[in-house]
């Protein structure tokens, strides 16, 4: 097991007091596996990934839990030790390729920086490695492109550059936070395909954060669905997408518009996601859920381990329903 997150809770100091963005989240990723973390905006997916990277903003902190990476707890490591893991064993790409690269350095400089920080390669070797990386991520004419500044490249190209930076030191874990959200549909497919190829080629594990179930279906081996800072269902992608057990997962799946659907209106889950400071002490989805019973509002439902998945629901949907 490469990454094992146990009972992670992350909180932020805000004007409304201390607010928990991630609540008691546990999941693990095997070597070479792609795990998708799915949920709406504000469900805590990005905070989970930033917690793992140790890149929370200054008002955020991990209040409990363990993050085991190769069996070692990252939360007990010094900042110095974490820096040697970051960008080296574990790297990250972000949602906004347009703004994630530094505008005043050439893309070549930005890739070289990563290589030279974590490896002992000579400048010439590092340059060769950089050109190889750019070739790998599908940048045409790499030796010319390295002299370009980010603003001279398209969004898709910039995301490829970000992937090249992330892959610079051949990490074991790649965290991809909504890597395709800001891109055109055709480019989305190319970037997903690229991440998939990186996994095949380097046997890296990927934590793929997305709100797009289409992306999940295409790329992930396993999926964990998050709602209001908690994982409500996790299991193999095929199982969960074909027969969701949690009413929230079902709602997400039904919300995808379909071409062959003749309904006048698109489906939407009734109600709104409660803001983090107003999440109830019982099942956070109960107030929007058509299957909710009195028991759902009595206390937090346990994470029920079933044959092929875990689900946090007292009245989950069974296959025959």
């Amino acid at each position: 097991m490469l990454l094992d997150v146990q009972h992670l809770t992350t909180e932020f100091r805000t004007r409304h007091g201390v607010v928990q963005a991630v609540r008691d989240v546990s999941f693990s990723i095997e070597k070479g596996e792609i795990l998708a973390l799915v949920g709406e905006s504000g469900s805590g997916k990005s905070v989970t990934s930033l917690s793992i990277m140790g890149l929370l903003s200054s008002n955020g902190r991990i209040s409990s839990g363990r993050i085991l990476f190769n069996g070692e707890d990252l939360l007990t490591k010094s900042e110095h030790a974490l820096r040697r893991i970051r960008g080296n064993n574990m790297s990250m790409i972000f949602q906004e390729p347009m703004t994630s690269l530094n505008p005043i350095f050439t893309v070549g400089d930005q890739i070289m920086e990563s290589i030279q920080l974590h490896t002992k390669l000579t400048k010439k070797q590092a340059q060769e490695k950089m050109l190889h990386l750019l070739d790998l991520v599908g940048i045409p004419n790499p030796s010319k492109r390295v002299k370009d500044y980010p603003h001279q490249l398209s969004g898709g190209m910039r995301q490829r550059i970000m992937i090249a930076i992330a892959m610079a030191c051949e990490p074991q874990l790649l965290i991809a936070d909504e890597p395709t959200t800001a891109l055109d549909v055709t480019i989305q497919a190319q970037i997903l395909d690229l991440i998939y190829r990186m996994r095949e080629q380097f046997n890296i594990s990927v934590l793929l954060i997305t709100h797009d179930l289409g992306v999940v279906a295409e790329a992930a081996d396993r999926v964990a669905v998050m709602y209001c800072g908690r994982i409500v269902e996790d299991g193999k992608t095929a199982d969960i997408l074909s027969s969701p057990y949690h009413p929230y997962t079902l709602g997400l799946l039904k919300s995808i518009p379909r071409l062959d659907d003749n309904a006048d209106r698109l489906y939407m889950i009734p109600g709104m996601v409660p803001p983090p400071e107003e999440v109830p002490p019982y099942c956070a989805f109960a107030d929007r859920c058509s299957r909710a019973q009195d028991a759902c509002r009595q206390g937090l439902p346990p994470f029920i381990a079933l044959k092929d998945r875990n689900v946090r629901c007292l009245n989950y949907i069974t296959e025959d329903q």
Partner: protein, 338 residues
């Protein structure tokens, strides 16, 4: 790049033209008759008329302007009404003092301002930040002459560390040379005089730097705060870079553009003569001189000063714009495509 530079230089011509017309008109149309000021209220009408005739003030205003500009283009700003000395010489004699003071002040203000601004931004809402921002607020609000007098009382009156006024002790004044005492004393190897000039410059420079430093600190802080929230800073941290390198290499260089602008403008205003500071410290620069000339309606001198100040400002703006292009690749390319 060169094309852009030439284009910008050519654009200076209309700006300076309008400034010259404006100053000329304001002086001629709205100011009182200089003859009564120069010759006294009780001078006879004939005498005043003769003086106006001699000074060319009876010519049509367009002719006066053309005559004046013809002189300016040949480096002749006319003659002072009071001393009859050529304005060009008067200004050249005082410019080195002003430039020397401005350069020292802007160096102090930039280094300290940028340093405190970065610390404030990185340690946002900490005690250091609150202290720095309060000090900067005081710095912006405190009248310059008052700060100057406080410094004189403290460091000159009580502690006797530095003299309270002037540029250098009369006996040590370097003869000839460029008029830049720091340069002149170093060239002839007179370190004692150099040190003496430095002592004289300390208080006025600090006084002058105070306001600029406060402005630069605030701009550095807000610009750094803005940049530190950018996505590419998160990328840099995700690479595993130390916070030191993230701040200086990735954040500060991006935050520089607005800081450079402020420094450029501050330097421009310091160069155009710090009227109050020069007066408080009896510093023989163009600031104090131009006030005297305004009070006695010495048109030719005022015109000369305003033209030079305008020139300094447009040049500073040009330099700042060129620095932009050097610092930010996006600026360079978008301008080349124009």
């Amino acid at each position: 790049m060169l094309l852009y530079f030439i284009k910008r230089l050519l654009m200076l011509i209309p700006v300076l033209f309008f400034v010259s017309v404006l100053v000329f008109l304001i002086m001629r149309v709205f100011s009182p008759d200089p003859a009564t000021i120069v010759l006294g209220q009780h001078a006879s009408l004939e005498k005043a008329e003769a003086w106006r005739e001699q000074m060319g003030l009876n010519e049509p205003i367009i002719t006066q302007y053309l005559n004046y500009m013809n002189g300016v283009l040949h480096g002749d700003f006319g003659v002072s009404y009071f001393t009859n000395a050529p304005v060009t010489g008067e200004l050249l004699a005082r410019l080195p003092a002003t430039i020397e003071l401005a350069v020292i002040a802007i160096i102090i203000a930039s280094i300290a301002g940028v340093f405190f601004g970065i610390i404030s931004a990185v340690k946002k809402n900490s005690i250091i930040d609150n202290f720095t921002m309060t000090t900067a607020l005081i710095g912006v609000s405190m009248p310059v002459f008052w700060l100057g007098m406080l410094l004189i009382i403290c460091f000159s009156g009580w502690l006797h560390w530095v003299p309270s006024g002037g540029r250098i002790d009369t006996l040590m004044r370097p003869m000839g040379g460029t008029g830049f005492y720091f340069y002149d004393t170093l060239v002839i190897g007179d370190y004692e005089a150099f040190f003496n000039a430095l002592q004289h410059a300390a208080l006025p420079a600090i006084t002058l730097a105070g306001y600029s430093m406060a402005i630069i600190t605030r701009m550095t802080r807000s610009s750094m705060l803005d940049v530190l929230h950018q996505d590419y800073i998160r990328t840099a941290r995700a690479k595993g870079l130390s916070s030191w390198r993230v701040i200086f290499k990735h954040a500060f260089r991006n935050a520089l553009l607005p800081i450079i602008t402020v420094i450029g403008l501050q330097f421009g205003s310091l160069l155009s003569g710090a009227v109050l500071t020069e007066t408080v410290f009896a510093w023989p620069g163009i600031g104090a001189y131009s006030v005297q000339c305004i009070l006695r309606s010495d048109f030719p001198v005022i015109q000369g000063v305003v033209l030079i100040v305008a020139f300094v400002f447009v040049i500073m703006n040009l330099l700042v714009d060129l620095l932009y292009a050097a610092l930010d690749p996006r600026v360079k390319y978008s301008q080349e495509s124009v």
